[in-house]
Symmetry: C2
Subunit: 131 residues, 2 copies
DNA sequence: ATCCTTGCAAATGATTTGCAAGAGT
DNA sequence: ACTCTTGCAAATCATTTGCAAGGAT
């Protein structure tokens, strides 16, 4: 718990028990949407409100503690910000897996008029479990 | 108009004037979200309802005439399905640009347990106009 | 003629806001 | 103590549904 406590402080956020709870669930799940996260966090803090969850998600996103993962046909997912990697998204069960990926290998028409900040790669298909 | 008329038929959809209107706006705009699309389509068909727009978008997506583009922190965008390409997304103005991209060049740890169907690449940053 | 699509209104679902009480530093 | 966060309720915004009338083949 000291762990998440520090993470929050380092990102200029107060370490509330709700936030620590959110982060511990996210660490456990890897990728999670708001609905599922709310279900989980309520088992830790039965009185937590959805408004609090949304407020915290937005704050942690803004402070770069969390990262948004947008996948087609699915609710937006969130993960704890990690080093660069790609995602595999199962179109059947919706699960998202991290994939080691070296962005240096990406060959594309460099365009100096565009200030590149981030690159996202998402592989869609059917995962092992669903085949 | 014969153009979109045929496109619709080829995808097993009736060619209604509302659908043709939606497609012509999309062709013109390239990438557009529901809200903006509704604003535009209403100038062509003032009495069109949002429900009709949503129903048609879902049908055309299902029949692969349209493709969904999910970008972070923005409303979902839609485009007319085209040959494979990547996207550049401006974090400032929200504009999305198509980028020629050869997916053959993508090097990643192939995993036979995952049945790959589609790969999405999104470059985020600041576009020329916003710099 | 038949089946699909439209437009409307209402229902549902998702996200945001304001505010008073409580928690963190 | 001071400021930020929480929980609640209500407001707003986004998407979906059912149904009767109209349109496409």
């Amino acid at each position: 718990m000291k762990n998440f406590d520090m993470m929050l402080r380092e990102h200029d956020l107060k370490a509330t028990k709700q936030r620590i709870g959110i982060l511990s669930i996210m660490q456990d799940k890897g990728h999670i949407n708001i609905e599922d996260l709310y279900g989980k966090i309520k088992t830790l803090f039965p009185s937590i409100s959805l408004a609090t969850l949304y407020k915290n998600m937005h704050l942690m996103l803004k402070n770069n503690l969390l990262t948004e993962v947008s996948v087609k046909n699915s609710k937006t997912l969130y993960e704890i910000t990690k080093d660069s990697h790609a995602h595999m998204h199962c179109e059947n069960c919706g699960e998202v897996y991290d994939v080691d990926f070296n962005f240096e290998n990406l060959i594309y028409p460099k365009d100096d008029s565009f200030e590149l900040k981030d690159t996202q790669v998402i592989f869609s298909g059917i995962c092992k479990n669903c085949k």
